[in-house]
């Protein structure tokens, strides 16, 4: 009963969805202010979500309907679970098991896989193109992402989220060291791709491939996909705060604002440029950060 409550209400689905909607509103409002506009009202993400729930759901004739409809559910379940683990680690650092960090990394990897599955199952040629882009992008950013997380693990000698938070609170945050700053910059760039935001949003580029991976989705499955993106926008800054700031609440907002500013000041790059960027620049610097962390800087 308690587990069900935790999954559905408090650190789980409802809490993450509401906080994610607030974060999504902050994202759109800051974007609007950067572009010298007024921006949408605070309930806009809620209106969008409710509207998509009311709309007709169309399953294309060429689609594999089971995978097509189950993919968004798979994504949102794993995102919720990741949120539960992260928040339990923040609220009560002693409560979880050893290796929960690795579970969170795996759970965050389910979203791109589910998106690829859903897009490939839709039977649309543009969606398959977008799925191939998403796949390449995922293969490109995941290794620098894990290396930048490794820096915290090496410096604090633990793979338990609770201990990462506790030892940062007692002996200074990771960001105070040279390798920590380097790892944080790499982490910021890779989560931009993980969230599908502008410099690396070629998988759902509206102007060239018409919504990309979500092109055939409508109604309820689209609502779940959008909600999943919104929840990720909330829990990935939380993850960053746990890894690099010791679970400090203000740093969650700071990471969010950094993400929004990167998103608003950059153009979309091509997929080959993105892969070159992640495999060359980011990978080299993240390995450098890991080496620095190992020798103690």
């Amino acid at each position: 009963m308690k587990i069900l409550f935790e999954f559905i209400v408090f650190p789980g689905f409802l809490f993450t969805a509401i906080a994610g909607m607030v974060f999504s509103w902050i994202d759109r409002k800051v974007t609007a202010r950067v572009q010298w506009r007024q921006g949408p009202p605070i309930f806009q993400p809620l209106y969008d979500f409710v509207k998509l729930l009311i709309k007709e759901t169309i399953v294309p004739a060429s689609a594999n309907s089971v995978i097509f409809l189950l993919a968004p559910l798979l994504a949102i379940t794993s995102t919720t679970l990741a949120s539960v683990i992260l928040w339990k680690a923040i609220i009560n650092p002693q409560s979880l098991f050893v290796g929960d960090l690795i579970v969170v990394i795996y759970l965050l990897a389910v979203t791109p896989i589910a998106v690829i599955l859903g897009a490939s199952a839709s039977g649309n040629p543009i969606a398959s193109l977008a799925a191939s882009r998403e796949m390449k992008l995922y293969l490109a950013y995941e290794l620098p992402f894990i290396f930048s997380i490794l820096v915290s693990v090496i410096k604090l000698h633990t793979i338990k989220l609770g201990e990462i938070i506790l030892s940062q609170q007692s002996s200074g945050i990771i960001l105070n060291s040279f390798s920590g700053v380097l790892a944080f910059v790499i982490f910021l760039l890779t989560i931009q791709a993980k969230l599908g935001l502008v410099p690396f949003d070629m998988a759902e580029a509206e102007t060239e491939i018409a919504g990309g991976v979500f092109i055939e989705y409508s109604g309820v499955p689209l609502a779940i996909h959008k909600l999943n993106r919104i929840m990720l926008l909330f829990i990935i800054p939380v993850f960053a705060a746990v890894l690099f700031f010791g679970g400090n609440f203000l740093s969650i907002i700071a990471v969010l604002v950094l993400i929004i500013l990167i998103r608003n000041t950059n153009p979309r790059v091509r997929i080959d440029q993105a892969i070159r960027f992640f495999w060359r620049t980011c990978l080299i610097f993240s390995v450098f950060a890991v080496v620095l962390a190992t020798i103690g800087y």
Partner: protein, 143 residues
């Protein structure tokens, strides 16, 4: 879910798909003007989307000709309902000087049902906002 909340969500978050059916591109440029920071329709939850599956409103411009008419009908069938259709510009509303042309297929409302007409050649962005406001009021049953 109550009907009023449904109506509120539907009218507060209109995602627009722009269907250019052989226009002269003047109306399209004005529609793009409408989406710029100067007029900022995202205040009202109006967004341009790339796929017709996400659309709540179809903005149709131009005098529909024989090449595009089947595709327009297909687009309308592909859009998830409820979906409104807005005819932007004189060509889509009444075909003005292309009325008896050999390759046009009649004004838009003879092809697909139309919910709102925004005349003008091209209509100003203010006129389009006015048209959308009137459409929302009609959907809510206000005068």
């Amino acid at each position: 879910m109550s009907a009023s909340l449904k109506l509120k969500a539907l009218t507060k978050s209109i995602w627009v798909f722009h269907a250019a059916c052989s226009p002269c591109n003047n109306c399209d440029i004005e529609i793009l003007d409408l989406l710029t920071p100067r007029y900022d329709v995202e205040r009202f939850g109006i967004q341009l989307v790339g796929s017709v599956r996400h659309a709540d409103a179809l903005l149709v411009t131009g005098a529909v000709n024989k090449k595009i008419v089947d595709r327009l009908k297909r687009l309308y069938e592909q859009a998830p309902k409820p979906c409104v259709v807005v005819a932007v510009g004189n060509c889509a509303c009444s075909e003005i000087m292309f009325r008896d042309s050999y390759n046009t297929c009649g004004p838009l409302d003879k092809i697909i049902p139309v919910n709102a007409y925004i005349p003008g050649c091209p209509p100003k962005p203010e006129a389009m906002i006015m048209g959308i406001v009137k459409l929302i009021k009609a959907l809510r049953g206000e005068k």
